[in-house]
């Protein structure tokens, strides 16, 4: 059997260390909405970078172990589960679909993401949701410093604590933190939690597979004070 001929039914098992990254990603890119190869298991990921980057099909991909940088980068449509921890930039610039990390995520998780849902069941390191542009991120544990830096839109939910400078220079992204916030970044303030926010948060907690005993009322909401939107010399010390 030629190695690139894949079983047409059942779960496709792909041994990454035997067959290599290029073959994995090109096989995944060849899938379209019409495929019947909708379930994939990537074994032996061994921390490789760019696993399942650039997928654009409604398929289910499980990565059976920990990944290096940029796993699920620019994902569209696919549901990608990392059955381990994820290196830097997991689901960076994701467009749609769902990415679920069972373990922890390194820096820049969900960076610049434009859509879809990223769930991190462990903790996320610094710069989680940096420059996010519409993605929804749910972190079960804590997040590190400078998270949601320059975040433009979308939501970041943190069931644990947030590190220093949360939401520095952010625009219209919504941040929800259940635990403590070590410090807020420039132009980030606590905001009133209104009924529509509670409703949105309840939906995110459910879709983010959070512990059902966690209630939206336990969170605080943070967002932009919008003081840096137009330059004013008297705010210069904030930069």
């Amino acid at each position: 059997m030629k190695s690139n001929v894949l079983e047409q039914t059942a779960t496709q098992t792909f041994d990454l260390s035997a067959r290599g990254l290029r073959e994995l990603n090109s096989s995944l890119h060849a899938l379209s909405g019409a495929t019947n190869m909708t379930a994939w298991e990537v074994v032996n990921p061994k921390g490789a970078h760019a696993i399942a980057a650039g997928v654009d099909a409604p398929v289910d991909i499980s990565v059976m172990g920990s990944t290096g940088y940029y796993c699920a980068g620019m994902n569209k449509q696919a549901t990608i589960r990392v059955k381990g921890s994820a290196g830097p930039g997991v689901a960076e610039n994701m467009m749609s679909g769902t990415v679920i990390v069972d373990g922890d995520a390194s820096q820049y998780a969900g960076a610049t993401g434009r859509g879809g849902l990223l769930v991190i069941k462990g903790n996320a390191s610094s710069r989680c949701g940096i420059s996010m542009k519409g993605v929804e991120i749910v972190v079960h544990g804590n997040i590190g410093h400078m998270s949601a830096f320059m975040a433009q839109s979308g939501s970041l939910v943190v069931c644990g604590d947030a590190g220093d400078a949360l939401g520095d220079s952010l625009y219209e992204a919504k941040l929800f933190v259940r635990g403590s916030v070590k410090s807020l970044g420039a132009d980030c303030i606590e905001k009133e939690m209104r009924p529509e926010h509670l409703e949105h948060l309840a939906d995110l907690l459910r879709r983010g597979e959070c512990d059902p005993t966690i209630k939206p009322e336990e969170f605080r909401r943070y967002g932009s004070a919008r003081k840096l939107y137009n330059f004013n010399i008297d705010n210069a010390s904030a930069y």
Partner: protein
């Protein structure tokens, strides 16, 4: 009888000149630094300080008009499955939609395609105007990632990871509220009318080792088809070029300090970075030291205006050049025909640089529909094609005179310098000598 001693004539300070004092007064009155478009306005050592020697008894020329002097260039031959082939080595540099109007982007696409060269997107993402009218389009991957998406990556012909820009190495982008129209706001996912400052560092990588992995990811997403360029500002060209090569770049784009910008602090434009003349030899040396000269192609920019500049850049070892400001002028920017309108804006044709205010009477650097609809993209494209063709003819004229049947065969040996500074920077001897300051040889 009054004193026969004449008064000391009034004398203004060189240090505190009228221009300097005006800057101080402006800062005091407004409380904000000066932001403007364009490149450096100060005098800098430049290609004007180099001359070609031409043919002689020891070198014979090619017959102008009859003997062929080829101008084509391949870009991205190192790793890309689909390298780019351009008819001429003059490309259009990345200029953002947002800074430029949709019709201006269309004109760049039309003009470049008809001349057989590429255009480049810019901060703010890819527009239909530009994709639709550009045969070869380079898609910039910038720190802001405005509009970034995998579909546009795949419909681009090459990807340019922007690390820096010559006008502001180490600086991020800036697009002030006046230009954040509904369309620009939507493409960038920002509130309308805010002063938008884009990041100076990429959000998900720092340093050369990360860059290598980022390039790998971009290659994987696009199935190794597209050439990947890395654009650097003229800061430390030797090391930056070497690190870009190490990170896996197919092409290095090097932008010297003269390079234009849509909007940056004047202090940044005038005081940070090195002139392109000083940058090219350092980048070429890095490529040669790594055995990668011509394997990783070098595109240079920053104040390129004519075929002579193209030929000089190539003689110093570049594979191609990029133009920004010159392309805008060809489209009609700062045209004296609009003098009355420039006067109304308190400026004069040739000096208009408040592009960030979005009031460009030429309709090029604006998002105001009334202004940009004055600009005819078909005519603009035609003008750009003409200009690109003239530059190419000029470069060929020089190359033939130096006995070269391809622009790439021009070499430093064909050049001499008029000043000590230019000789030292370019690494070519001062005219009439064999002296290259800092190297061997003497008057």
């Amino acid at each position: 009888m009054t004193s026969e001693f004449p008064h000391t004539p009034p004398r203004k300070s060189y240090t505190f000149s009228d221009a300097v004092n005006a800057d101080i007064r402006r800062a005091a009155a407004t409380g904000i630094y000066d932001i403007r478009g364009g490149g450096t306005k100060r005098f800098l050592p430049h290609f004007d300080d180099l001359l070609f020697l031409g043919a002689s008894i020891s070198r014979y020329p090619l017959e102008g008009y009859r003997e062929k002097c080829a101008t084509d260039v391949w870009l991205g031959t190192r790793h890309a499955k689909k390298p780019i082939h351009l008819d001429i080595p003059v490309t259009i540099a990345g200029m953002s939609f947002g800074a430029l109007s949709g019709p201006a982007k269309e004109a760049l696409g039309r003009g470049a395609s008809a001349a057989g060269t590429s255009t480049t997107t810019g901060d703010g993402g890819m527009t239909e105007e530009e994709r639709g009218h550009s045969k070869t389009l380079v898609y910039q991957y910038l720190p802001s990632r405005y509009g970034m998406n995998p579909d546009d990556l795949r419909r681009a012909d090459a990807i340019e990871v922007v690390v820096g820009q010559g006008a502001k190495p180490g600086g991020g982008g800036m697009l002030l509220g006046q230009k954040i129209s509904d369309r620009v706001a939507m493409m960038r996912n920002l509130p309308k009318g805010i002063d938008q400052r884009s990041a100076c560092r990429h959000p998900d990588w720092t340093g050369p080792d990360d860059l290598e992995i980022k390039i790998l990811e971009l290659r994987e997403i696009t199935d190794w088809e597209k050439p990947i360029y890395v654009k650097i500002g003229g800061a430390r060209p030797y090391y930056d070029t070497a690190l870009a090569v190490k990170a896996g770049a197919d092409v290095v784009v090097l932008d010297g300090m003269q390079g234009g910008t849509a909007a940056t602090q004047d202090v940044f434009i005038e005081h940070v970075g090195q002139p392109i003349l000083a940058c090219i030899p350092q980048a070429v040396k890095a490529l040669q030291d790594l055995g990668m000269h011509r394997k990783v192609q070098l595109i240079v920019s920053g104040g390129i205006r004519s075929g002579a500049d193209v030929a000089k850049a190539m003689a110093l070892g570049a594979d191609a050049v990029a133009i920004g400001t010159a392309a805008l002028i060809a489209l009609g920017d700062n045209d004296p025909a609009l003098e009355a309108e420039y006067q109304k804006l308190g400026t004069t044709a040739g000096a208009y640089d408040d592009w960030h205010e979005g009031k460009d009477p030429a309709g090029i650097t604006t998002q105001d529909p009334e202004l940009y609809s004055r600009f005819d993209p078909v005519l603009g494209g035609r003008r750009l094609t003409n200009y690109l063709k003239v530059m190419t003819l000029e470069a060929q004229t020089i190359a033939r005179a130096c006995g070269k049947n391809h622009l790439h065969n021009l070499e430093p040996e064909d050049l001499c310098a008029l000043t000590i500074e230019a000789a030292a920077m370019a690494g070519v001897p001062i005219a009439g000598t064999s002296w290259i300051p800092g190297r061997n040889g003497s008057f």
